[in-house]
């Protein structure tokens, strides 16, 4: 009896030790992803799995389509929160923990920040042969110091989404310039005190940057070995003063972007237009289905009559994150996503994304009527707009910090009656400080 007891006990101990060893074994193997060295498995050995994180609508279906036709490279897609709503945090954390996915949607405005954090792989060698399939500016926008770190997938030319019925009811012409836009805002609000021509989102730096870009701003640039921050440049202040005028007269609906309240105001007709990026096409379709058929899209209002310049918001390259074991396959998939005709046709329909490929605007889906917009083929408007997008707008190495600074400074200014110009000064200061905090060189301008 004593013997069996003892035997049983030692068996138990052995099992316990085995369990601990197994955990340890998982640690070295399963925690993986850190084998950056040369022992990457050859593509021919069995199917390769590429993990992919993103949030754009349409990505999930694209992954399914790819998997069906590419048995050797299987893409495992996970939809995460939008980047600035927590998605980027998750990616950086995963990189730090050494278990990041191979491929991830990283907005153009955040690429440099990710690069500075050491979160991106250099994909120049894998990407160079297919770069001719893209528009040159798109490739430039994902290349830093001669190193390409992402595959451009979509861009975000802006346009004006508006409610045909509401403008018609109050006999307001579709504004073509910002002056007309302000006049229309006044007229509409006077005719219906509960309604606004548009909204202002104090927590949407990206949207605001699109307006600034149209006016000719560029917030970040590099001068030699130093970053240059110009958030309070003249075009930006012009835009700030313009919106300040609308805010002071209470002619715009102030709401957090993407909030329930914001969409509710759209649904109820309290917001009659939105000057935003092309990918809002799908967001509006999904979020306010009750207003289907009442919307239309026109070009973004311009600062000077006749001189058409368009802003741009977002557009998401897909980057290969640090530690990816299959960068070649990841780039192959991302290139397919961006340039394969039927793949991108699906992204246009399912995701409202706008192509960066060289022949993208000749896709059949560009001419497709969309019922939500009264069967208007809205992508034709954006195709035209894309030709007049203002020259490149630079982003810096600390975009998340700048975004947070914008949200609190502008949020406070709007809530407590400060001015947008002063708030932008605060954002400029915080942006410079955040770059200094990282130990980088920076000048103001």
């Amino acid at each position: 009896m004593g013997v069996t007891e003892k035997a049983r006990r030692s068996a138990g101990v052995a099992a316990g030790v085995a369990a601990i060893l197994m955990v340890a074994a998982c640690g070295s193997g399963g925690g993986g992803g850190t084998d950056v060295g040369g022992d990457r498995p050859a593509a021919s050995v069995g199917p390769v799995t590429v993990e992919w994180w993103g949030w754009a609508p349409g990505y999930d279906k694209a992954a399914e389509a790819w998997n069906a036709s590419h048995p050797d490279i299987q893409v495992k897609y996970a939809q995460i929160e939008p980047g600035s709503k927590g998605g980027y945090q998750k990616m950086l954390g995963a990189v730090k923990a050494g278990n990041a996915p191979c491929l991830a949607q990283v907005g153009g405005e955040t690429l440099a920040s990710f690069l500075v954090e050491g979160a991106l792989e250099d994909i120049t060698d894998y990407a160079k042969e297919s770069n001719a399939k893209f528009q040159p500016w798109a490739v430039n926008s994902v290349t830093f110091g001669g190193r390409q770190v992402a595959v451009p997938v979509d861009s975000g030319p802006m346009g004006m989404f508006y409610r045909k019925d509401i403008l018609a009811k109050h006999k307001i012409d579709v504004p073509k310039t910002w002056d007309e836009f302000a006049a229309a805002a006044e007229k509409l609000h006077a005719a219906d005190p509960k309604a606004f021509l548009t909204s202002f989102n104090p927590d949407d730096m990206y949207g605001f940057s699109g307006y600034a870009r149209q006016a000719g701003a560029s917030w970040f640039s590099t001068a030699g070995d130093a970053w240059k921050v110009s958030i309070t440049d003249e075009p930006t202040l012009k835009v700030a003063n313009y919106w300040q005028g609308l805010l002071d007269k209470k002619l715009v609906d102030v709401k957090p972007a993407w909030s329930d309240a914001w969409f509710k105001d759209f649904t109820d007709g309290r917001i009659a237009s939105l000057v935003g990026a092309v990918w809002m096409t799908k967001v509006l379709e999904d979020s306010i289905p009750k207003t289907s058929g009442k919307w239309a899209v026109a070009p973004m209002p311009s600062w000077e009559a006749g001189a058409t310049v368009t802003g741009n918001v977002g557009g998401s390259p897909n980057a290969v994150l640090k530690g990816c074991a299959h960068p070649k396959e990841a780039v192959e998939f991302a290139t397919w996503l961006a340039t394969d005709q039927s793949a991108f046709d699906d992204l246009v329909v399912n995701g409202g994304l706008f192509p960066t490929s060289a022949d993208g605007t000749s896709l059949p889906s560009m001419k497709a009527p969309r019922p939500f917009y009264g069967d208007q083929p809205v992508f034709e408007v954006f195709s035209e707009a894309a030709k007049t997008v203002a020259p490149s707008f630079g982003w810096g190495p600390t975009t998340p910090a700048v975004n947070d600074a914008f949200n609190s400074a502008v949020g406070e200014a709007v809530a407590k009656g400060g001015t947008l110009a002063d708030a932008l000064k605060a954002v400029q200061e915080k942006a410079v400080a955040s770059i200094k905090d990282k130990g980088l060189s920076v000048t103001e301008g």
């Binding site: 340890a24 640690g27 925690g31 929160e81 730090k96 923990a97 979020s287």
Partner: protein, 275 residues
């Protein structure tokens, strides 16, 4: 008599305040996504859509919701069970064995009560990535089994409920210390341990930050994390699923509380004079 009416009226007003959000959830769970914000919030309106909403919750994302409920049960139930047992043993040792260094150990445990959980969570995440616990159920379960406050409570309970004489008697009978604990100690502490279990159950059920950091795989998520994620996805506009899912998720916990109510001693402060 007047006092009775007044008192009851006051308690009633507070009850209305407490029930208001719950009532809103119940009402909203019967509405379609389109009607949710278009009908008066505190009363039924539009089409009765409860069945449709439940169906939506259960089928969204390939039926993940029921998996989330099960995960929650595993994390909260399993984690609380482990935490209770570990805390009971440690607290018993602190109360019943005057070993060397007892004061120091107890001081460390008390200090740990004051540490904000998120201070642990961030580095914990990095630590878990090194030992391969990231994105596993153990990565959530094991940290949840560490409850310094539970040890503090268990020590107080053991001091109050387990007489030294009984332990002495056990030793005279020749029983080993472990045996004495599992036959005598834990029995006497049992009613208090149920409280400790429930306390820890809710603490884990409430902890949403740790799973958010540790778990990538949706199939491993607890229900809170899943609902917050549904809430965060604006484009799908899953408000109906969020509200209905939230309501469904709290029903079993409420039922568990009602049925275990007689155990809820919650005399958490027993012995805290020595705090």
């Amino acid at each position: 008599m007047r006092a009775q009416v007044l008192t009851t009226a006051f308690l009633f007003v507070v009850a209305v305040y407490i029930l208001l959000p719950v009532w809103w959830m119940v009402v909203s769970a019967t509405k379609s996504a389109a009607d949710l914000f278009d009908t008066p919030g505190l009363w039924f309106g539009g089409d009765l859509h409860l069945a449709g909403n439940i169906d939506r919750v259960m089928s969204q994302d390939g039926g993940l919701y029921s998996r989330w409920l099960l995960n929650t049960l595993i994390y909260s139930g399993g984690g609380a069970l482990g935490a209770t047992l570990l805390a009971a043993m440690a607290g018993y040792a602190l109360a019943k064995y005057p070993f060397r260094g007892r004061g120091v150990v107890f001081a460390i445990v008390m200090g740990a009560v004051l540490i904000p959980a998120p201070l642990i969570t961030l580095p914990l995440y990095l630590l878990e990535s090194r030992i391969g616990l990231l994105n596993t159920m153990w990565g959530v379960l094991l940290p949840c089994m560490v409850s310094p406050f539970g040890v503090y409570l268990a020590r107080a309970y053991a001091e109050a409920a387990v007489p030294d004489t009984l332990l002495e008697a056990g030793r005279i009978d020749g029983a080993g210390e472990l045996r004495i604990f599992f036959t005598v100690g834990i029995r006497l502490m049992a009613p208090a341990l149920v409280t400790l279990f429930l306390f820890q159950f809710v603490a884990i059920w409430n902890n949403f930050f740790l799973p958010m950091m540790v778990l990538n795989d949706q199939a491993l998520w607890p229900v809170t994390l899943g609902l917050v994620k549904w809430h965060g996805i604006r484009t799908g506009f899953l408000r109906d699923a969020v509200v209905t899912g939230a309501l469904i998720s709290i029903v079993p916990v409420i039922l568990a509380f009602v049925s275990l109510q007689r155990f809820w001693k919650a005399d958490l402060a027993a012995g805290s004079v020595k705090l």
